[in-house]
Amino acid sequence: MKITIRLTLLAAAAVRGFWLWTVFFPSPEKVVLQKIARLAATATFSADDSSLIRAGKAGNLVGFFADDAQIILDAPGQAARTLSGRDEIQTAALGGFASLPQLKVQFLDVTVRIGADRQTAEATCTAKVNAGDSKDFGVQEMRFQFRKTGSDWLITRAETVKTLS
């Protein structure tokens, strides 16, 4: 009986140790997933948020992108647009955050693939965006490319994917 209890405790300790290991040293896939979740949270703001908070969020949003990052937007019903570099992204983010009453961004069905060099990653997801007071929302398939810079993963390219051609 004692041996059984000891073995059970040992197994529980091993499981807990493994869990702690994954918490403190997450896999690249998990890091990228967390990054995408934080990106959605940063891009989301409510009508109650002040201009200062919105400007702060727009500034934080730029921090997710590499210096040479590109955002390529080509959604149905809207003019195609390309943003190159952090400055353009920040300008567009500030403009968008100031003009929209509120914005809710969710990234659903995120799939992450880590490159063979372990320094790049690609993520595909469905962006669900709700802007304004209505319950209407837009959906758009997106593809993100990440590059490991130091210990951080930064977005080098974000582009819309045409689900229907």
Binding site: P76, G77, L108, D109, V110, T111, T124, C125, T126, K128, F137, V139, Q140, E141, M142, V161, K162, T163, L164, S165
Partner: protein, 189 residues
């Protein structure tokens, strides 16, 4: 005979007659109501039900809630429906089928009607759809429109999908060629 074969099969009935000399230990009526007279059998039933529901609603029938106006008047916002994921196991999607087209996953999908099959040319002229130059009869389209679009050829793996609500502006209506692998299934109802 039928009853006999059932009784001699897997079905078991509680046919024990209580002995008058033995004290009866009847479970509390609330316990009986909650978990039945045979808790182990109830647990097995619950587990079986959970497994059946999981398999059915994960791999066979995908429950969906419709949102948007692109399929009006056939479908309205708020309607609940099911996607039959096994609909195209034996045959390919057909013209007129209402299908769901996945984006990155199945959390959010487009629900559209197939009007063009692989290899066909689809065009819109004065609001009417033409397949290989022939006018397509679409009784489900109730709202008139003036859509104009040059011919588009579907590849061998593509289906042309569009909503029933053609009163929307052409650019605002999501439609086009969907790859076969993106078609998740056919609407059940």
């Amino acid at each position: 005979m039928f009853v006999y074969s059932q009784l001699s099969g897997n079905l078991r009935f509680n046919t024990l007659v209580p002995n008058a000399n033995e004290p009866t230990t009847q479970p509390h009526w609330f316990q009986t109501m909650l978990i039945g007279r045979r808790p182990r059998a109830t647990l097995v039933r619950i587990l079986a039900l959970v497994v059946v529901c999981f398999v059915t609603f994960e791999f066979v029938l995908l429950p969906i809630r419709i949102d948007g106006i692109s399929m009006q008047p056939t479908y309205h916002t708020g309607q609940i429906d099911l996607i039959n994921r096994l609909a195209y196991i034996r045959h390919e999607p057909q013209r007129g089928d209402i299908v769901s087209v996945r984006l990155a996953g199945t959390s959010v999908m487009f629900m559209k009607r197939i009007i063009g099959l692989p290899g066909e040319t689809v065009e819109f002229h004065h609001g009417h759809a033409y397949i290989n130059g022939q006018l397509l009869n679409e009784p489900y389209v109730k709202f008139a429109c003036q859509w104009e679009h040059a011919p588009i050829v579907c590849d061998a793996t593509q289906f042309y999908v569009v909503g029933d609500n053609r009163s929307m502006a052409f650019d605002l209506h999501t439609h086009g060629r969907a790859e076969r692998e993106r078609i998740v299934g056919k609407l059940f109802l």
